[in-house]
Structures are given as C-alpha cells and as structure tokens.
Symmetry: C2
Subunit: 167 residues, 2 copies
DNA sequence: ACAAACTTTCAATTATTTTTGAAAGTTTAA
DNA sequence: TTAAACTTTCAAAAATAATTGAAAGTTTGT
C-alpha cells in the first residue's frame, strides 16, 4: 500500500468510527487529516482533500476548536489560517472525555438524581425503580470519573504501576 | 415528582443519551424501560408505553438480544413473549463494551495496523504518518482492553484497592 | 389440518442530521 | 476608504437513519 492510499484509508476509517460514536463524520475526518499531517493545513487544502464545501469545513473546524482538540495557527506573510490537531493522545483522550462529560453525562446525571429521589411509596414497582436508578446514578458517576482519576493517578507510583499493567 | 413522570423522564433521558453515543433512540428507550421494570414486559406493553409500532419494537428487541443485554422470558399459560433486561450494571458495561469492541473497535484496529505498517520512504510527511498511526494503534489497543482488564483485576487484591480508589 | 395468537420482515414513508453554496461579515494592506 | 482575501452564517437541499404497517411467517391448541 502506498502513502496516499493509506492516508485516505485512515481518514475514512476514523470518520466511520466517529459517526458510530455520535461524532459527525466530517468532523472526525478533518481531525484524522490534521492528526497525521506534520504541518498545519489550510481550509482550502482540507476542502480539497476531503472534497467538502467551504461551509462544512468552516463549521466543523469551529466545532473541533470548541472541543479544544484543534488549533488555529498563523504563518508569517500568509493571510489565511492554518489548522493543527492535538497530537498527544493522552491529552486528546482527556479533552474528549471532559467535553463529552460536560455536554452529555453531567446533564444526564442531574436527571438521574432527580428521578432516583422520588418518594417510593410502598409498591414493589416504585421501590424497584428507585433502587435501580440510584444504582445507575452511582455507576454513571463512577464511570464518569474514571478518566479524570487515571490522569491524576498517572502522577503517583501506584498509578504508574497500574498503567504498566494496562499495557 | 410522581412515579409515572419520573419513569418517563428517565426513559427519555436514557434514549437521548443513547443516541448521542450512536445507539438508536428507541433501542435505548426500550432498554431503559426494561431496566426499571421489576417484572418482564410484553411487546404489547412496550409499544403502548413508548408509543411505537410493532415492527419497531420487534426489531429493536432483537437488536438488544443480539447485544446480550435483554432476554426473552416465557410465562406459564401465556402465549406471548416477555422481555427483561440485564440489571447488573457491571455485567451490562462488560457486555456493551465487548460488543462495541467486536463490532467497531476491532475492525478499526485492523485498518490502523495496515496503514501504520506501510513503507515510510524518506519524506518527513510519510514518517510522521507512520509514527502517528502507530501510536494511535497502540493507544486504541490499550483503551480497548481497559474494561476487560478491570473486570479481571476485580478478582485480585490490587484490583480491589484500585476499584476502591475509583469510588 | 385449521385457525387463532402471536412475531418477524421489509419496502415505503417520515424524521433527523448533515452538507451545500451564496450572501453577509471580517480583516488587512495600500 | 476601498477592495481584495479570506471566513462565517444559515436557509434550502441532499443524504442518512429510523419508523411504520401490512403481508408473510411461526407456533400452539383443538
């Protein structure tokens, strides 16, 4: 397989993976493209490589910047803007999980807390509901913290040991 | 908030969360409904509670069973089928992650391996591509194993300590 | 073997999400 | 201040995904 083919395959695959996880295909593709580029890429080039419109490129670049995983860059003497992606994968994971947590998990947790604290009366049905949603609340809260905790842990010896075991 | 309202809120929220993570809304809603039901529910009742068609209910129940997180149940003297959800949340997490890994991550890993092993020639561009996709391959492989590893770890003392720290 | 009581399938419809492209907006240099 | 070079916005169009409903399929009791 030659370079161009490999690059294209990677971008397509990353795009497909993204859309299966609720991230728009173009957004994932732009990110993929920037991840494997050794230098900043212009909007023009992104449009050209992915065969997408200017509007689409603009909106998805904005979204990627809002997620904090793509940055604008300016080149001396050039008028147009260039873009680079966060390339440190640990950093990338942390940022994505922070953002999804903030946008999706936290609001869901709020609702879970609300519904799990209703008066359960005496019916088995209602008791089961309260019990199950409480457990779910605890579980989601715990899961939501895992990545953050792992980053913290990374600084201490037990963390390092654990990380080693994961490899 | 009274029970019925809480239940509905929960089902809606779980459905919305599902669709943000690439799981069809109805599928997540049916799962939510079954999770908080203390007894098995018929297709008829699911249709009624979620206001969906028979075809939709049937297809999504099949999908949930394929994922291994919903089971058919038969009641003596009843002709129709009833459904229950996996209620143990650790078990649920393991099954979902196994399934998504099998369907989505593993195929992506295969491609990542392919594209990261091309001949890099001498250009900086190609070297960077190989380097970055290799790192990504390792990272995804590692992340893909985390949940499995955690379940294994759960059985030993270090694991228990670690799990405690997560809480 | 028949028919009642169910479930599944899938082509057509509907809903949702994404993408386009052209107009409006912004910045820079002269 | 003007105009060229560039970016953003957003209503309309296109693409994709989910849903319906009725026909076909299955199972069970008589």
């Amino acid at each position: 397989m030659e370079f161009k083919e490999a690059k294209n395959k990677f971008v397509q695959t990353w795009g497909a993976l993204g859309s299966q996880w609720g991230i728009n295909k173009t957004m994932a593709q732009i990110h993929a493209l920037l991840m494997v580029s050794n230098e900043a890429v212009s909007m023009e080039d992104i449009m050209e490589e992915l065969q997408i419109s200017r509007g689409n490129a603009s909106m998805n670049l904005r979204a990627l910047m809002d997620w904090g995983i793509v940055y604008k860059e300016f080149k001396a003497g050039e008028r147009k803007e260039f873009f680079t992606a966060e390339k440190d994968l640990d950093e990338l994971a942390v940022k994505i999980s922070r953002e999804r947590s903030k946008r999706e998990i936290k609001p869901a947790l709020k609702i879970l807390k609300e519904v799990s604290t209703i008066e359960a009366k005496d019916s088995a049905e209602e008791k089961h509901f309260v019990d199950q949603t409480s457990k779910l609340y605890d579980f989601v809260l715990k899961a939501d913290n895992v990545l953050d905790k792992m980053t913290e842990l990374n600084d201490n010896w037990l963390g390092k040991l654990f990380i080693k075991m994961m490899k």
